[in-house]
Amino acid sequence: MIDEDYLKNINEYAEGMGVSFASARGENRKTTNYLLKNGVIESVVNSFSSGFNVKVNVNGNIGFASTDLWSREEGVKISDIAIRNAKYAKRKNKINMDDEKAIRDDWSVNIKKKTLDMDKSDIIELLTDINKAIIDTKIKIPGIVIMFSIEDIYKVIVNSNGTNIKSKDSKITLFAYISIAENNQSSQFYKMYGFTGGMEAFDVWHADEDLKNECIIQKKILDNGVSIKPQKYTVVCGPEVSGIAAHESAGHPMEADRILGREISQAGGSFITAEMLGTQIGSEYATVIDDPTIENSYGYFKYDDEGVRGVKKFLYNKGKINDFLHNRESAAKMNKKSNGSSRAASYDLEDIVRMSSTYISPGDWEKDDIIKDIKNGVYMKSFTEWNIDDWRFNQKYVAREAYYIKNGEICEPLKRCVLEITTPNFWKSIDAASKELEWNSAMCGKGDPEQGVPVFTGGPTIRLQGVYLYD
């Protein structure tokens, strides 16, 4: 299992083989997953994963290899394979890493209610109680899937800069997928709850109450929802919608590796180019921040997987394209410094540029004031189906919960209305943002093989002027 001195030795071995950069990242990851299907525990899966990787830069070429066997011979073998792989690459345009100072640190996530000591029956009871809260609504619910996971991650990062960082992380995740069937109509929704810390997550989430309420709301929409008249409206988006927009059409297009084309074959590119820094893309309310330092957020980390300190970054600032998300490779290509955005989903995957907690900065409006002057508008509180093209330019959000706004009042519920809009139109249309900030959890996919990393999406309630909605 993981051994800091062993990793240092492996890294020193790689360094001694004529590389310009070497890093070794090792990890012990203990995960327990629970699946409750229609009220019955369908599976409990324990996973004990342990292994390390060696990543090297040889004359501007990157090689990587990983193993789950902790032996001296295996370490030498893995280093040799990584170096061989780098030599095979034979690039004309050499890859460099930005200069970073050595960091030696040992950090841990603050856990109030420990997970390791909990009996599995206690956790099953928690999940069963959530299921019961949903059933007790007496709504006809033919399908409930509840998934819960506890993940404890001990990680060591060493590199040829002299960095040596140890960390203990803990991620708690709850996911529910619920089907409602009433009066020959059906509605489905899912909700995800993520937390960095311990079982105190349940005190923050109130998932039983939240899911119960969501079922009641969805039934009301099935019973009373009307179809929207397709036209332009003043649209008020709740924090869930503003948060997903921050993630999809501000966070992703500002990832420097996308801008440089490194993700182009699968996860896609960006409509933003390196030359567009400083360009106005939105209104003065379009300030989007990525910040991994928010404690207990699902995207929390102190250092990224290259050993660079995570910092708060203003991606869009008052509507201007301001700061890209960087790792050491993309930063070097753009003559910048890494801003600590390199993450890997596990020890056997390369670290790439990722978001953490990405959100629209709160504004100066009271939520009531945002709505009170609207004569004919729509309040889109939450979303279900969504997608965006691989240039991050055309996005679609289908409302899970929405209402007409008439003369400053929230009125009848709407069946699933659709906001389908370009990225500049979305960000230019914002003319108000509320003071409060709310968060949601998501698993962000990117990379090849696809890596899911935990993130927060967040935002205030925002108002968009003159945007088209249809049913």
Binding site: S43, N46, S47, P142, S265, E385, E420, D448, Y468
Partner: protein
Amino acid sequence: MTDESTEQSEKYVNFALKNGADEALIIIDDSHNRQVRFSKNEIDIINDWISETITIYITKNKKQIITTVSRADNAEERIKQSIKQTDSLNENINYNGIAKGSMKYRNLVYCRDIEKIEDPTDIVDEAINGALNNGAKSVGGTLYIYNMKRSLSSSEGPCGFDKSTGVSLSIRAFGQDDSSGHWVSVTPNLNELNPFESGKKAAEITTLQPYKQTKIEAGAGIYDVILSPMFTGSLISNISEMISAFSVEVGQTIFINKLNEVVAPDFVTFSDYADDGVISKRIFDDEGYPIQKTKWLEKGILKTYLHNTSTAKRFNVNSTGNAGLIEPTPFFTYMDAGDSTLNEMIKETKHGLYFTNTWYTRYQNMYTGDFSTIPRDSMFVIENGEIAGRCKSLRVSDNIASLLKNIELISKDRYQIQWWGEARIPSLSPYLKIKNVHITTSR
């Protein structure tokens, strides 16, 4: 054929039974997989992944627990812990056992040439050259090389050893004016990989020359649509995941209460079969049940769901050999060939669209099938049986059940498709012509 790991898995099964398990099943997966990632005509990184994972499946008093450990771990200690942990669990009233009896498997077939690949960059260079020599300006993609061994031993009888190899090349070519094309070559046999042809095909999709100069604004509306195998592969991946009995039990499928009903035209047939010719080839499922061919949709009629032992008993049928220890899963989907060609489809379209790829398929309701997906790479407008020009920024916002019913033509040619999360379940996918597809756009 056996392997040392088969003896090891048997040993662990016996250890589990001695320590109080009612049933035990051990799977040892030993793999050395490799990958080359490239963009802008150069290699970004080459990865090697070496691992050996032991999956421990234990039941005691109808309580199940699964534990996966790496080879450095103490598997016997984890087995003991797993058995003890069943005390904390509730009885799974849905549980109906795992495959029982001595099983006979087909002979092992794998590609020794794939095992022998040293420098994988020759394949990548060939693919890049295939694209650049045919009009592409920039090329990106991935090459995977798979070498996997699996040993399985079950207290209920099944015992087997499987070995599989594969190569998977995904290449995306970029031409002028934001044009792009994506193609894959996916096969368990190295001699069937066509790197140069794949690069060429991706490049040819970018513009479908000589039409590259014409750009047409195609608005929202209802169109007859032709889908390339890349797009079809993504749809098939979605549809085949809905055929799992698990999806039926939790309402995440359009196929609930549709057995023996017409769900597609009578020339549409789908089967699940991970035979020796496909990238996801395997000889037994996760319970050790032999892989078989299951025609789940035949001549437009839904015939069965995909089952493991437990779901099969609940549905009062036999396992289809698609375990998943937790849920049944499709392994490889065959769509039967039609009698058309891409050119014939275009000729028979008066006013339509040709999509060469898609991504980001998301549902608002998997029971009704309401969904959208975003075509990516070059897309084309068809007028009066001819490609009239390129268009962009369109979205398919429709219903998956309707698309299935509205298939008009299927091509004779089919291709093994699998890429990223978009076509996760591999398939043999044709070109399709589908009528009356709803298209939307951003405003």
